[in-house]
Amino acid sequence: MALEHADVQRAAHLARLGLTDDEAARYVDDLGRILEMVDMLQALDTEGVAPLAHPLDVTQRLRADEVTERDQRSRFQQCAPAVENGLYLVPRVVE
């Protein structure tokens, strides 16, 4: 499946990655070749094969409904770039 400039720009936007046009052009080339390599999969007949999401056939363990975490806000917010009154700050969100 061929990859176009618009595909890369779209992926970059979905992934919120700022790319210059030059960078995007370079990634069109790189990603195109990676996808070409990946396209080899299409040659394989996988009709009726169940997708494998986890390498082991194990099931989800359930946790008891208990409050085990205490307030660590000040510790956690030490690594935050911008906080005020305990809130994380971001540029104004318009709803």
Binding site: R63, E69, P91, R92, V93
Partner: protein, 484 residues
């Protein structure tokens, strides 16, 4: 042209777990910002989710309550998008294999008729945090306390045909989840929120019209109003030759209108894929059976029992089973006074009126079910008459006594049924009212019935309301007629 409205609801119910769906942080409402957002909720590098058993059990209980299929395997997926209140950049949800399959909810309309509404599925997911838009130097503040609170999203089929049906459906869901005790159902605190899909089509047309989605409607009333506005808007648009655009709209309760949310510059592409940090949830039959065996009586069952076994009217049964608190209250009154109809009358009459006046919920009633039951019992056994009963109720409401009996005793409200005592009071009244007696005597016999009211009132007054009104009536008639 005749139009038909088609409505489907997506109801988000916050589950009443102690801890979050994937972490051990508390879900309590109203804490200081970010004090209940642990490492997992914040999506710190390296953290991983572990599923809360109570959230699973609650979802399954709901499924059982709506007679839904509970698949053996369900899977969590990631819904990927960026937003400040979504710490990981994805919401863990269930896209392809939800925990609850297709089911059905019966709604009761105002005329007492019922209608089944199909539920397409219900799935578990995590709630997002909150963005606070008050001014932080032009910035938005993000509080992630709510992030990771378990949500059950209940997706209906487009089976509703009016705003009233939609409201009735929402009430039915509310009543099921509160009966089950899986949510506090507090809409003001956001414990239940809903997205409404609305479209219209010419009556008789098979194909659905283009729908608009109204996001985040937070009360029964708003659901009705939002739909009413939206239906009108769409019909007007179509009749003017326009087209309905598939879009997301917001309901503004202050202006009583829906309006288009700013269309994002690109369509969303959530890139759902199975969450690799969580494994398939496999529920065995024993687990599901155990939950089924421990389900409480549900609203529909309760309604049927009230009607069939207690002999209540369909309307009474439906009102009294609407919420678990109401039903529990009524049943306790009934158990104490041993008369379902009297209990129903009092709960829906005197009590409901008083609660309404003071805008209280039944859970906060100053008169307990036991107190009311004891009061009703005293009416039934003729200890007090109806008038005194209202006085006793008011006294209980005002906290002027611990029980009906205490108040009856203290205020001397016990009904006087001693014929001698009543006769003495009547004789006194007749002696004190020569003019009225003369009028009575001179009146045509068929007018006398009305005139007796004056004497009854005087005797009741003399007894301070405690004389048995029937006896008073009876004896007065005899005595007055004897004077004629």
């Amino acid at each position: 042209m005749q139009w038909e409205t088609v409505i489907g609801l997506e109801v988000h119910v916050q589950l009443a777990t102690r801890s979050k769906i994937f972490s051990g942080a508390s879900t309590a409402f109203g804490a200081e910002p970010n004090t209940q957002a642990c490492a997992v909720d914040l999506g710190l590098p390296g953290v991983l989710p572990v599923l809360n058993e109570a959230a699973v059990a609650m979802a399954v209980k709901f499924g059982l309550a709506i007679h839904a299929e509970i698949p053996e395997v369900s899977v969590f997926d990631r819904k990927n998008y960026f937003y400040p209140d979504l710490p990981k950049g994805y919401q863990t949800s269930q896209m392809y294999q939800p925990i609850v399959g297709a089911g059905e909810v019966e709604i009761t309309l105002e005329d007492g008729t019922t209608k089944p509404i199909r539920v397409h599925h219900a799935h578990l997911e995590e709630d997002a945090g909150k963005s606070l838009h008050e001014d932080f130097h032009g910035m938005t503040g993000v509080d992630l306390n709510r992030a990771g609170t378990p949500l059950l999203e209940i997706v209906s089929e487009p089976d509703m045909r009016s705003a009233k049906e939609a409201a009735a459906y929402l009430k039915a869901i509310h009543s099921i989840v509160t009966y089950l005790g899986i949510s506090d159902g507090n809409m003001a605190e956001g414990s239940m929120r809903c997205d409404v899909n609305v479209s219209v089509r010419p009556k008789g047309q098979e194909a659905f019209g283009t729908r608009a989605e109204i996001k985040n409607v937070n009360s029964f009333r708003f659901v009705e109003r939002a739909i009413a506005f939206e239906v009108e808007r769409q019909i007007e648009l179509l009749e003017d030759g326009g087209k309905v655009v598939q879009e997301t709209r917001l309901f503004d309760p202050e202006r009583d209108e829906t309006r288009s949310m700013r269309t994002k510059e690109e369509a969303n592409d959530y890139r759902y894929f199975p969450c690799p940090d969580l494994l398939p949830v496999v529920l065995d039959k024993a687990y599901i059976d155990h939950l089924r065996d421990n389900l409480p009586e549900l609203p529909a069952e309760k309604r049927a029992r009230f009607e069939n076994e207690l002999g209540l009217s369909a309307y009474d049964a439906s009102v009294l089973s609407a919420t678990r608190e109401m039903a529990d209250y009524f049943e306790e009154v009934k158990d104490v006074c041993r008369d379902a109809k009297q209990a129903a009358n009092w709960v829906q009459g005197e009590l409901a009126g008083a609660l309404n006046r003071e805008n209280l919920s039944i859970a906060n009633s100053p008169v307990s079910a036991r107190q009311l039951g004891e009061l009703v019992a005293r009416v039934i056994d003729d200890t007090i008459n109806g008038k005194a009963a209202k006085q006793v109720f008011q006294a209980l409401w005002n906290g002027q006594g611990a029980s009906a009996d205490d108040i009856i005793e203290a205020q001397g409200l016990k009904q006087v049924t001693d014929t001698g005592a009543i006769e003495a009071m009547i004789d006194q009244v007749i002696a004190d009212s020569p003019a009225q007696v003369a009028q009575y005597r001179d009146a045509e016999p068929d007018k006398r019935g009305k005139m007796i009211g004056y004497f009854v009132g005087q005797v009741m007054k003399a007894s301070r309301g405690t004389a048995n009104p029937q006896q008073v009536n009876e004896l007065l008639r005899q005595k007055l007629d004897a004077l004629c």
